[in-house]
């Protein structure tokens, strides 16, 4: 079956679920479950929509890169859906729209189509965050999201005016052959970079993240922090590796933004005392790191970084939000000694955090080592220094958090975690540990992923 179904079926289900309000969340769970398994039978290749071939019509591309992206995003989406289906009943249809938008984002090969799916997913995201009961924060997110995507559209149109095409592969080849100096294409690329920067939580553009994630609940936290972050990360990666041409002034601006995001992200996390804020700011820094790795060209390892971060943030936000709902606020003080009497949750939380820091025996360690190794081989000495110093800071505030959560003698907070959550969290932690030690498959798949991330050019 062709990949278009991944977008069509959720949209159809969304409209059906509006009719049967009561069964909305069952439809959601069923569709997301089906989409995860449908991926098995999807045949790779490019799908032209409406018969027009590549440079003229919209084209969807399913290659190794987007297949892995789809697997990850769909499974994470399914996990979030399962865990929240009984609690958030009325959100079923919006989630389905979000699923369609995300799948569309990952599949599309056309820049304007990317804008449309970005908006569809964006609006679904704004609606999901309304469950936070913080209308001002959602409003803030809406405004910034719209400004970001309008700038993306502006940049897109400028490129269209210059090169006459909207198809990614065609755009890339025409930019290369057009012989324009980098200075010319810098402005539209910067606009598109800012447009995506807002969604990808890069520092100057992400003032919405604090409002949304700091008071998120079991649905919005994992959705925004892991599912959306992963999807945006993958798409941004595809854009960065295929379309963008990054040279002198544009490169300077982008590097400044990224260095500032990584360093400031870690500093902010170090300075904050609320658990969710720590996770939020560390995911800002991780997002910037993903972009850095994409820019230096090791797409394979960037993919593994995204997977590691997305899984980790899912587990972390699930546990933190469940505990916050039952404890009231999420200060580190009230969380002290949380794991003393629920050890399984504690162990998986610790395993996942240590993997994010990059300590041995975990997936994070393998990814970080290989990224640093490739950076050194490619002669870049500055970024590894920044990464190492910031990961020391990151290590300190995560360990401080962990030790507070584990070691406390009297009046421990009573938090009940239901079985499904424990089950999911433990599986993810085990996966991270297994792939941390048994690194064979990770090594090979990362190297050959690098080769496929370049699209072989639509139908040309």
């Amino acid at each position: 079956m062709s990949a278009i179904l991944l977008i069509a079926v959720p949209l159809l289900a969304a409209f059906i679920s509006i009719l049967f309000k009561k069964y909305a969340h069952y439809i959601l769970v069923f569709v997301s479950f089906a989409s995860v398994f449908a991926l098995e039978y999807m045949d790779l290749g490019t799908i032209t929509v409406g018969g027009f071939n590549a440079p003229f019509g919209i084209v969807l591309i399913l290659d190794d890169y987007s297949l892995i992206a789809l697997y990850i995003v769909n499974t994470l989406f399914f996990l979030v859906a399962i865990l929240n289906c009984n609690e958030f009943k009325k959100v079923g249809s919006i989630m389905l729209v979000a699923l369609a938008g995300l799948n569309g984002l990952l599949l599309t090969g056309d820049l304007f189509n990317l804008f449309v799916f970005l908006e569809v997913a964006g609006i679904a995201a704004y609606l999901i965050t309304t469950t936070n009961k913080k209308p001002l924060a959602t409003f803030n997110y809406l405004i910034q999201g719209t400004v970001g995507s309008s700038l993306y559209l502006l940049g897109l149109i400028l490129l269209y005016a210059m090169f006459g095409t909207l198809n990614m592969a065609d755009m890339a080849s025409s930019i290369a052959s057009s012989g324009y100096g980098a200075g010319v294409t810098a402005f539209p690329f910067l606009l598109m970079f800012i447009g995506f920067g807002v969604e990808a939580k890069l520092l100057p553009f992400n003032s919405w993240t604090k409002g949304i994630l700091a008071n998120s609940n079991r649905l919005t936290g994992p959705m925004i922090a892991s599912v959306y972050a992963a999807a945006i990360g993958f798409v941004f990666g595809r854009l960065l590796t295929n379309v963008f041409v990054i040279e002198d002034t544009f490169l300077i601006i982008v590097t400044i933004i990224l260095i500032f995001s990584v360093v400031a992200g870690e500093a902010m996390a170090y300075a904050s005392t609320k658990v969710r804020e720590i996770l939020l700011y560390s995911s800002v820094a991780q997002a910037a790191l993903v972009v850095v790795v994409f820019m230096s060209g090791f797409t394979g390892w960037a993919v593994y970084l995204i997977i590691g971060n997305a899984a980790a943030k899912l587990v972390l936000f699930l546990i933190t939000n469940t505990a916050t709902k039952q404890l009231g606020n999420d200060d580190v003080e009230t969380f002290k000694g949380l794991f003393v009497n629920n050890k399984i949750i504690g162990l998986s939380f610790t395993a996942v955090t240590l993997s994010v820091i990059g300590l041995p025996m975990f997936l994070g360690f393998v990814t970080k080592m290989n990224i640093l190794e490739n950076m050194f081989v490619s002669g870049d000495y500055i970024w590894p220094a920044i990464i190492l110093i910031t990961s020391v800071v990151e290590g300190i505030y995560f360990i401080r958090l962990l030790l507070n959560l584990w070691y406390k003698e009297n009046d421990l907070p009573e938090v009940k975690f239901e079985f499904v959550l424990k089950y999911v969290v433990v599986i993810i932690a085990l996966l991270i540990m297994v792939f941390g030690v048994y690194t064979e498959p990770v090594q090979e798949s990362a190297d050959d992923l690098v080769a496929y991330s370049y699209i072989e050019g639509g139908n040309l």
């Binding site: 553009f205 933004i257 170090y270 025996m361």
Partner: protein, 620 residues
């Protein structure tokens, strides 16, 4: 008996200890004893194979990624035997201490995990495997420390040792970029002498300083060792600090020193052939000695005092290794052995006291000798060696280090080294007088009783070894000569009983026997004369008035008051420095939060316009 098998045994027994520990705390700890003894004996066997002159290369195990290789070298084996021995001895204490901790099963598991890590670090010739186990020890040590009193110490421990291990990682990658492989010997060989060599040397020295707790990075050592559970402090100061010494050997010995020959300071007749890098490391080592000694003299908590003493001994090791040459190397390596044994024994003795009385604060203790005489003797022998006094091992290594310092004519470093050795009499005597001797305080009189046999056994073995390394050092020095030969230096000139340094010959057995003869004569004089009347401790010369309260008659608080007054004002220089550093990071974080994260949308729009303006600055 391959290395992977031993590491697997350690890991497996760790997990076994966890599950057994869940059933019965003490049994879990017993597993740690059995496992660490087994590993120590196996390492001992490996010693025979190596003595046959062949360095075994156990490489490639299927399920590990292909580049994991282990190699047993003299240097690695030297450290491995020493540290596994300390682990084995200290493990005897686990069953008695494990009930007190919050996660007893976790305690035994992590104890064996760090042992596995130690094996991994010392017995490999591949840098990435070394880093993997290096981090693994940091990680398992991290969750052991908070089992003691509080977890702030664990955070500073984590901060410094990760900074150290990431510096090591950066150096590894520099070498990888040069040689394309992670081989340890190849990497160090190709890089030494080049400009990258200076970066690698600086980074490896940074890592060694962080792990040894040397001067610039010493804030974590007293906090972590003071607050950690007692057996863990013994393992840390005896065993895990030797990781830093191992990295120091890699940095200062295997890597050719860098920089111009500093000795030729214009027309000096006595040109010393030391390189700039050796000078810097030696001076930092000297500052560590002075700082450690001064801080140790004023500590009230016995464990903190011994932590500072292991810091200043770390300084000795750094000075010795940085001077290099036959004397420097053999002095440094022998000091590692002597210090490891002495500080492990001392910490175990203090641990035995704290198990019975619950506190190691000297102001709350006194007169423990009357109830714990054997622990007292163990502690006495340990501190004699730690202070470097003749009949014990410490004197031999200090004598070698003095020879090295004098031979190189380093005056200022000699001042620090002499100050350190005399200062060590002071801070080593303080716990002896305040904790063991003096009045026996009533609150401890009934509770205190001698440590059980299984706690005394390791302590006695350790003190026996301390005396043995002092009286018959040549056996250990032969093995150290093999290590030096492997590192490319020339070994020490050893007669059957004598050690010939640069400017003097030493026969330790003769000193010990003359010491014995002297004591015999004094004993004969003592016995011949009239027997004295036994009198209680309270019956002392107090100019006539009657005394009733022991506390008033026990001098332990502010023991060296006149000396402490001299440098009271500027004690925590480094602590304040790191506090300020931390505050800087927190302020920067808050400032960014204030500027970038508010609920008003115009912030983002403002920054977008700024960025676009920045790009289009030239064009319009």
């Amino acid at each position: 008996m391959t290395v992977e098998f031993l590491i697997l045994v350690a890991l497996a027994s760790g997990i076994l200890a966890y599950f057994v520990g869940r059933l019965n705390k003490v049994l879990g700890a017993v597993v740690t004893i059995v496992a660490s003894m087994f590993i120590f004996i196996m390492i001992g066997y490996m010693m025979q194979d190596i003595n046959a002159g062949t360095t075994f290369n156990y490489n490639a195990v299927e399920y590990m990624p292909d580049f994991v290789t282990f190699m047993v070298t003299y240097l690695g084996l030297f450290f491995a035997i020493l540290v596994t021995f300390i682990f084995a001895m200290v493990s005897f204490f686990n069953p008695f201490f494990v009930e007190k901790y919050k996660y007893p099963a976790l305690y035994s598991m992590l104890y064996l995990f760090s042992l596995a890590g130690v094996l991994g670090v010392f017995l490999t010739d591949n840098f990435m495997v070394l880093f993997f186990f290096f981090e693994f020890i940091v990680w398992s040590g991290l969750f052991l420390i908070p089992l003691g009193k509080n977890n702030k110490a664990a955070i500073s421990y984590y901060a410094f040792s990760t900074a150290g291990s990431f510096a090591l990682l950066y150096a590894i990658f520099i070498m990888f970029a040069e040689t394309g492989s992670y081989n340890l010997h190849l990497g160090l060989a190709t890089v030494s002498g080049t400009t990258e060599g200076t970066y690698v040397l600086a980074l490896l020295a940074f890592a060694a300083f962080a792990k040894l707790g040397a001067f610039p990075l010493n804030v974590w050592l007293p906090r972590a060792l003071g607050k950690a559970p007692d057996p863990i402090t013994a393992v840390f100061s005896g065993g895990l600090e030797k990781l830093g010494a191992f990295v120091a050997v890699l940095a200062l010995v295997k890597l050719a020193p860098v920089g111009d020959i500093a000795g030729t300071l214009g027309g000096l007749t006595e040109a010393t052939f030391l390189f700039a890098s050796q000078y810097i490391v030696a001076t930092l080592g000297a500052m560590t000695i002075i700082f450690g000694t001064l801080m140790a003299i004023r500590q009230d908590d016995a464990k903190k005092l011994l932590a500072y003493s292991s810091m200043s001994n770390g300084g000795y090791i750094l000075v010795a290794l940085s001077l290099g040459g036959t004397l420097g190397l053999s002095g440094g390596l022998y000091h590692i052995v002597a210090h490891a044994l002495a500080s492990a024994a001392a910490f175990l003795a203090i641990g035995a006291v704290s198990r019975v009385t619950g506190t190691t604060k000297m102001s709350e203790l006194g007169g423990m000798i009357h109830k714990m005489p054997v622990t007292y003797m163990v502690y006495l022998i340990a501190i004699i060696s730690m202070a470097g006094i003749p009949p014990m091992g410490g004197f031999i290594s200090k004598w070698l280090i003095f020879q090295a310092v004098i031979d190189n004519g380093l005056i200022l470093i000699a001042v620090a080294v002499f100050f350190g050795s005399i200062g060590s009499f002071l801070y080593v005597f303080r716990p002896l007088a305040a904790l063991f001797l003096g009045q026996e305080l009533p609150q401890h009189r009934d509770k205190a009783k001698e440590a059980p046999f299984f706690m005394l056994l390791p302590m006695l073995i350790l003190s026996g070894l301390i005396v043995f390394t002092g009286v018959m050092p040549n056996i250990f020095l032969d093995f150290i000569n093999d290590v030096i030969a492997e590192l490319g230096g020339t070994g020490l000139l050893l007669g059957d009983y004598t050690i010939t340094g640069v400017n003097g010959v030493l026969q330790p057995t003769l000193i010990a026997s003359v010491f014995g003869v002297g004591v015999l004569i004094a004993f004969i004089i003592f016995i011949l004369l009239k027997k004295s009347k036994k009198v209680g401790l309270m019956d002392t010369y107090t100019a006539g008035n009657f005394i009733y309260t022991e506390e008033l008659m026990h001098y332990s608080l502010d023991f060296y008051a006149p000396l402490e007054r001299l440098y009271e004002k500027h004690i925590n220089i480094t602590k304040d420095f790191y506090k300020k550093l931390e505050n800087k990071v927190v302020d920067f974080g808050r400032m960014v939060k204030y500027f970038f994260f508010t609920n008003k949308p115009e912030i983002t729009v403002f920054w977008i316009i700024i960025l676009i303006g920045f790009l289009l600055w030239g064009e319009l």
